[in-house]
Subunit: 453 residues, 2 copies
């Protein structure tokens, strides 16, 4: 059986929801459907989730909010009319929203915000279920209350083991299951939303819980590309990619799928298929645990800016057991994560995403590294990009690092940092931001154009 | 003024000691002389230090040791005769050795061993001083008791701040100072030897204490070579090299100078000149804080075998603040130091010198990484070599990493690991041991032959 998740644009309008129904009808093994809240219908449109956030702020500010509710409901009404549904479903949604707003006095602001945001997915699931039933697809809306158990605050929201046990029975349903994405409930009944990629996570949890053969993730692109199409002209489509290739590529240009959402399916080795709701016959991109070797050693190339380098040098550093650990501990105490730590014998560079830094933090870190670790030299440099060349086949290809470094040299850029571990599934380069695009293009030509020509 | 240190082969025989005297007489700024114990005169000869270790073992075993003392004394007698000295100095040495052996009952085995080993340098300093005076060079033997104060056990022997203050007055001596290398005394009067590169350390401490203009380190080679001459044919001589280049090259093939010994002079920016006692007119290799840029971006290439890789992978590792720090902490608790930690997003390789590992330690580490860090995969691989390309000029040379990787690719070897930090003074590659020599040759040809041709 397959679990299918449909993103915001896939359920934005009546026309889109009809496509979803066609997709479900086209394959009887598609048994569980997860939906997002209605997304944008045009580029100027406002997402329902954003309308709901606005509503929440109004309620929190204790201002009149009836009109805001009406705006949300009217979006659902448009879809209900387009789908030929009677007004009952809109009444249900309106009552639901009013009830959530009236609960405000019993909730913290954060809890109210979560509740209203989650209503976007929840009510959309009810409406899509109503539509499926209206066209003769026996469908049951299932609330996350029925099993999607998450952990308690303040930890980041995650499904707990019980959720997988309770949701497993959904595989035995004779009806199609229509499940809202994005949220679950704690044991004590508190609604909690997932951080990022929320509906993707719900789909992955359900796929894992029912032991699906495939997790289909419907979005609005045909596939994942081997490089950012905004930079590289017509990049090759990726038909199959491993989980860890996908992860290593999870820098910019590969944001189609939130990688953390994959966790539940990765653990069980369930393949994922990224497909296009607007072009369901396209094979899409399959994300798998293992794949056949392809002709190309490189699967994709990603690039991202916004990196800083913390450079620390100290004579005889490598003789000092614990130096690197102490340095990382200082970063940890500042709640800073890092990407790589290339080193010489007496120096180490820590690659950090710049958004985690500010003047105060930097000053504190420089001070601690100077005084506690007695470094000879320590400084921050900003404005770097990371370029990552990824492919399971790279380890079988002698000379690949040479080809990559040569391609970069052709652009005239200096390589500020190189990093390749023994897994050899990725090779990363640190360069100055201004070279990012030209290097991405040159590397793409090196590893893709030449082979296919 | 200059501090001159002479290694074991430079003071092995009367003939060699005469060369030392000539060197001191040739330059009136050479005011402080540090000597090692007499080294090998021929390749079959036994170093005095080794004779002394044998003597110590005999004393510790409570066996008759008179004959062993006689053997040591006879080595000094050979030199005394060759230098035209009367027998008095040999009597002094013989009495000294007897006194040290008779002290055995008051000392631990370790203390006795230290005392007898140190006598090699100590007595040789007395003899060389006697010779200098006999040929009209006013010279004063100075015992490390007069100011070379070291820290207490169990810390690794190091001169303490007081030593530098006390030894500073040596710069005011009208006589040449003859100082034995290799040992000092704690405040409470206990003799302690330096770990490795002992006489080099003494020379560096004296140079720093008197604020020397130059620390001349006399040995038996003309210079430091840009690559191991046992592997590369006639490698280029290095005339000038920075401290940090020297450090980065401190792998095999560059063992002419023990890098830790440089610490006292590095702190004060005192240049070091490695020279040949047997060819003092050769300019040798100067080790300096900063140097002019040379035509060649690469100063030297070193290679060393005996490395292992600890590979750890875990899905979403890079999201987990503290993962790398915890991993390094486990190694630290096993008292293991590491060279580099190249990483992907979800994996990290730790490059470790294999001698630090054994089956038991590996099993313990694998177990802890699996159970405490919940890694998906963790393993050790052995039999790697590290090749390090070093040069202060590398950062100004676009395409250098490309040239290096391309040269390695020509050998057919796969690059298992690449590491280059933002200091860009070194670029290291991990390769399988069997490729080490061929890669070193190929890289040498790439960066030296081509430029000089």
């Amino acid at each position: 059986m397959k679990v299918c998740k449909f993103g915001g644009t896939s359920v934005a309008s009546a026309e889109q929801i009809k496509k979803v129904a066609n997709i479900i009808q086209a394959d009887p093994t598609r048994r569980i459907v997860v939906v997002s809240a209605p997304g944008k219908r045009t580029s100027e449109d406002i997402k329902v989730t954003d309308l709901l956030i606005d509503l929440a702020h109004t309620v929190i500010a204790k201002k009149p909010y009836e009109e805001k509710i009406a705006t949300v409901v009217s979006r659902y009404e448009d879809n209900a009319i387009g789908l030929g549904l009677d007004h009952e479903i809109c009444d249900i949604i309106e009552l639901d929203l009013k009830a959530r707003c009236e609960q405000a006095i019993h909730l913290t602001d954060e809890m109210l915000m979560d509740s209203l945001k989650a209503s976007g997915e929840d009510n959309n699931a009810k409406m899509v279920a109503a539509y499926f039933n209206s066209i003769g697809i026996p469908t049951r809306y299932v609330s996350p209350k029925e099993g999607l158990v998450v952990n308690d605050v303040p930890e980041r929201t995650m499904a707990i083991a019980e959720a997988y046990e309770q949701l497993a029975s959904l595989k035995d349903s004779d009806e199609i299951i229509l499940f809202p994405g994005f949220f679950g409930y704690t044991k004590s009944g508190l609604l909690r939303t997932f951080d990022r990629g929320g509906s993707d996570i719900t789909g992955a949890i359900l796929a894992a819980a029912v032991g699906a053969d495939l997790y289909e993730n419907f979005t609005d692109v045909d596939c994942v590309f081997s490089a950012n199409p905004k930079v590289v002209n017509n990049p090759a489509e990726i038909t199959e990619i491993t989980y860890r290739e996908m992860r290593e590529l999870s820098y910019a240009g590969f944001s189609v799928f939130h990688d953390e959402a994959l966790m539940p399916v990765v653990k069980q080795g369930i393949p994922v298929n990224i497909k296009n709701t607007n072009n369901p016959s396209a094979p899409g991109t399959r994300i798998v645990a293992k794949r056949e070797e392809s002709k190309r050693p490189v699967t994709g190339i990603s690039a991202d800016s916004g990196f800083s380098i913390l450079y620390v040098s100290k004579y005889l550093m490598n003789r000092e057991i614990g130096f690197g650990r102490k340095l990382l501990q200082i970063l940890e105490e500042e709640d800073i994560s890092y990407e790589h730590t290339p080193s010489g014998l007496d120096d180490i560079s820590v690659i950090i995403r710049s958004y985690q830094l500010d003047d105060e933090k930097e000053a504190r870190i420089l001070d601690r590294v100077t005084n506690e670790l007695h470094a000879d030299d320590v400084n921050f440099r900003h404005g770097f990009s990371m370029i990552v060349v990824v492919g399971e086949g790279m380890k079988y290809k002698t000379g690949l690092a040479a080809s990559a470094a040569t391609a970069i040299a052709r652009t005239g850029a200096n390589i500020e940092m190189i990093n390749q571990g023994s897994s050899e599934v990725s090779l990363s380069f640190g360069v100055l931001r201004q070279y990012e695009d030209v290097i991405l293009k040159e590397l793409y030509n090196e590893f893709f154009t030449a082979v296919t020509a």
